[in-house]
C-alpha cells in the first residue's frame, strides 16, 4: 500500500484535490467532513493520509509516507539536508509564497541586508539588546543571514500573526511568507530589496527513506505515470 500525504485543510487541500482530479485521480474525504479519513478513486493500493501540511515533512522523512504534498518552504525549514530525504516530483502550480524579510515601512534608511546589518549593530549599541526578528522559519532565516553576513540580531519565535509582531512590540522586523504583500502593507511593513529567502509553492514530494517493495514500486510508478498526464 502506497501512503500519500494530503494537506487536511483549507485552500491548499481544495487545490490539491483539483490537481489530482485533473489527472484522473479522485481524492474522496469520508462522509463526515470532520473525520480526517478518505480513499482514492482511479488507482488501486494508494491510501490518502490527511495531515497538516506542516507535519508532512516529518512523516516523509520518517518514511511513514511514500509521497506527500506540501510547500517546499516547510520542507526546507524542517528537514536538515532535505534533498537526501525527499525528492521533489512535481511543482503543483499553486500555494505560491515567498519567504521574505520585512521591516517597518517608515525605516526609510533601510532597504537592503547591508542596511539591516548596519542597523542591527546600532540598535544593539543603543538599546542594549539584539534586534529581534520574529519568524517561525528559524533555520532558513539563520542560514540566510549567516550567508549574508548579518550579525547582532536575534530570532524571536512567532507561530502566527507574525506581521503584527512589530506593531505589537514583540520584534523590530519579521521573516514570513507572503503572496500578495497586502498583509505586510496593512501592518506597515516593507520587504527588503534583497530579502527574498526562498520562493515556495505546493509540491509533490517522494520520500527517499522507505524501501519500496516490488508491489509498492509498481503502484508508485503507475501513480507517477498518471500524475504526469493531464486528462
Amino acid at each position: 500500500m502506497i501512503r500519500l500525504g494530503i494537506p487536511s485543510k483549507g485552500r491548499l487541500m481544495a487545490q490539491t484535490f483539483d490537481w489530482f482530479s485533473d489527472r484522473g485521480i479522485n481524492l474522496v474525504r469520508s462522509e463526515s467532513d470532520r473525520e480526517y479519513a478518505g480513499h482514492i478513486e482511479g488507482i488501486k493500493n494508494v491510501q490518502p493520509i490527511f495531515l497538516s501540511a506542516s507535519e508532512i515533512p516529518r512523516e516523509l522523512s520518517a518514511g511513514r509516507l511514500h509521497f506527500g504534498v506540501t510547500g517546499n518552504d516547510v520542507i526546507q525549514e524542517k528537514l536538515v539536508l532535505f534533498n537526501q530525504l525527499v525528492k521533489p516530483i512535481s511543482e503543483l502550480g499553486f500555494g505560491f509564497a515567498d519567504l521574505i524579510i520585512a521591516v517597518p515601512s517608515f525605516w526609510v534608511d533601510v532597504n537592503t541586508l547591508d542596511d539591516l546589518d548596519d542597523v542591527s549593530a546600532q540598535f544593539r549599541d543603543k538599546h542594549g539588546y539584539r534586534l529581534r526578528i520574529a519568524t517561525k522559519y528559524h533555520r532558513l532565516l539563520r542560514e540566510f543571514l549567516m550567508k549574508a553576513g548579518v550579525a547582532d540580531y536575534q530570532i524571536v519565535d512567532s507561530q502566527g500573526a507574525t506581521e503584527g509582531a512589530v506593531k505589537n512590540g514583540l520584534a523590530e522586523a519579521i521573516a514570513d511568507i507572503t503572496s500578495t504583500g497586502n498583509t505586510l502593507k496593512a501592518n506597515h511593513l516593507k520587504i527588503l530589496s534583497d530579502g527574498l529567502i526562498l520562493k515556495s509553492q505546493a509540491t509533490l514530494f517522494k520520500s527517499l527513506t522507505p524501501e519500496f517493495s516490488q508491489e509498492e514500486n509498481q503502484v508508485a510508478n503507475l501513480l507517477l505515470k498518471k500524475l504526469s498526464t493531464l486528462d
Binding site: 517608515f106 523590530e172 506597515h188
Partner: protein, 363 residues
C-alpha cells in the same frame, strides 16, 4: 568508525599530562550553560552549532559547545589574578551541514590568564600543544588577528568605517564587501540620493516598533556624511591586501611585516609582538624557520581570537577538523569581565583525532 570509549579516555589522559605537568589548576565545568551568555557573544549562529534545552527557571540553556567561555566566565567572576587552567571533558556540537561529524567529543585544553608577558604566554601554550602532538604527522598554521585589527584601526578614515570593518573581521566576505564600499570600489546597493525627500518620506508612514524616528533621522544624517566622506586611500587598501594574502615561513613573514609597518606605522607594536613571540618560541626549541604564517589565518573560526592564532592539522586526513587549535582572546575577558579584564590565551586538543592518527601510524 567506533572508537572504544576506554581508549578515548586513556588517550585524553595521555595528552593532558603535558598540561598538568605545568602545575595548572585542573578545572571541571558544568555541561549546561545559560544560552544568553553564548548568544550575546556569538549571535544567533550559535543555535546552529549548539544543542539547546530548556530549564523551567533559567529558560533556554545550551550544552557547552566549548570550554573557553565558561572558563572565562568563572575566572572573571572570581578574580583577575594570573592563573593557569587545564581541563578535559566533552563538548557538544549540533551537526546540520556535516552529519558525519561527531556530536560530542572530548577536548583537552589549557588556558593562561596572565598579562605579565603575553608573547611568552603565547609561546608557552603553543609549545605545550606542540609537545603533546610530538611525533604526529601534522601541518601547523599560525596567524595573528591582532596585526590585522591594528591595520584596520590605523586606516586614515572615519571611526564608523573602522568600527564596521572590525565588527566583521571574522566574516571575510562581509569584510571585503564593506572594504570595497568604503574604498569606492563598489557603490552601496542602494544609495540615498536626496535627503530632503527621505525625511519627507519618513513622515508618510506610521512609526511602529521600538526603533524611534530620531534613530532613523540620525542614520540618514550619517549616511549623508558617509557619502560625502573621501574613500579609503587605495594605497592603504593595498597594504591591507598584502597583509591578508601574506603566506610565508615565520621569519620571512616577519621581514615582510616589518616592511609593511614602515608604510603603515599603526601596526608597529603588533609586529614587534610577533617578533617577540618568535624569540620565545625559539627559546622553547620550536623551529620557527619551518613554521608557516598566514595573514588571514583564524578569520573564519569562532569569533573571539584577537591575537596569536594557530591550528594543527592532520597531514594524512586533510578533511578532518584540526587536531588542535588555540589563540589569544584578550577582548573576550573584557567583554565578559564587567569592567575587569586580563589578557588570556589558550588551546584545545582533540583526543578522538589523535587516537585516529595513532591508528594510522600503527598500520
Amino acid at each position: 568508525m567506533m572508537t572504544d570509549l576506554k581508549d578515548l579516555s586513556r588517550e585524553a589522559k595521555k595528552l593532558a599530562v603535558v598540561f598538568e605537568a605545568t602545575g595548572a589548576e585542573v578545572v571541571e565545568l558544568n555541561f549546561l550553560q545559560i544560552s544568553n551568555v553564548l548568544l550575546d557573544l556569538y549571535g544567533e549562529d550559535i543555535r546552529g552549532r549548539a544543542f539547546i534545552t530548556n530549564d523551567p527557571i533559567y529558560g533556554e540553556m545550551m550544552l557547552r559547545p566549548d570550554f573557553t567561555i565558561p572558563i572565562v566566565e568563572q575566572h572573571m567572576a572570581n578574580s583577575v589574578s594570573p592563573a593557569r587552567y587545564t581541563y578535559c571533558g566533552k563538548v557538544f556540537r549540533r551537526q546540520e551541514e556535516f552529519p558525519d561529524r561527531p556530536r560530542e567529543f572530548l577536548q583537552v585544553g589549557y588556558e593562561i590568564f596572565d598579562g605579565a608577558n603575553p608573547e611568552k604566554a603565547d609561546a608557552e601554550v603553543f609549545s605545550l600543544v606542540n609537545e603533546a602532538l610530538n611525533g604526529f604527522p601534522v601541518r601547523i598554521a599560525t596567524g595573528d588577528i591582532g596585526i590585522l585589527m591594528a591595520a584596520v584601526r590605523s586606516l586614515s578614515t572615519t571611526e564608523t568605517r573602522k568600527k564596521a570593518l572590525l565588527r566583521h573581521i571574522w566574516r571575510p566576505d562581509r569584510f571585503r564587501t564593506l572594504l570595497n564600499q568604503f574604498s569606492g570600489l563598489s557603490s552601496k546597493a542602494q544609495s540615498i540620493q536626496d535627503f530632503e525627500d527621505y525625511n519627507k518620506l519618513l513622515d508618510k508612514f506610521q512609526a511602529i516598533g521600538s526603533r524611534k524616528v530620531q534613530e532613523i533621522r540620525e542614520r540618514l544624517q550619517q549616511i549623508k556624511f558617509e557619502s560625502e566622506t573621501e574613500p579609503i586611500d587605495p594605497e592603504e587598501v593595498k597594504i591591507l591586501d598584502e597583509l591578508l594574502s601574506l603566506k610565508h615561513r615565520c621569519p620571512v613573514a616577519l621581514n615582510h611585516l616589518e616592511k609593511l609597518s614602515k608604510k603603515m606605522p599603526g601596526i608597529d607594536l603588533t609586529v614587534d609582538n610577533f617578533a617577540k613571540r618568535l624569540t620565545f618560541l625559539e627559546k622553547n626549541k620550536i623551529k620557527v624557520d619551518l613554521l608557516d604564517f598566514e595573514g588571514s589565518y583564524g578569520r573564519t573560526s569562532m569569533e573571539y581570537y584577537d591575537g596569536f592564532v594557530f591550528g594543527f592539522y592532520s597531514e594524512i586526513h586533510t578533511e578532518l577538523a584540526p587536531v588542535a587549535t588555540g589563540g589569544r582572546y584578550d577582548a573576550l575577558t573584557e567583554r565578559m569581565g564587567r569592567g575587569k579584564k586580563i589578557p588570556a590565551v589558550g588551546a584545545v586538543l582533540r583526543p578522538d583525532l589523535t587516537l585516529l592518527l595513532r591508528g594510522n601510524n600503527n598500520d
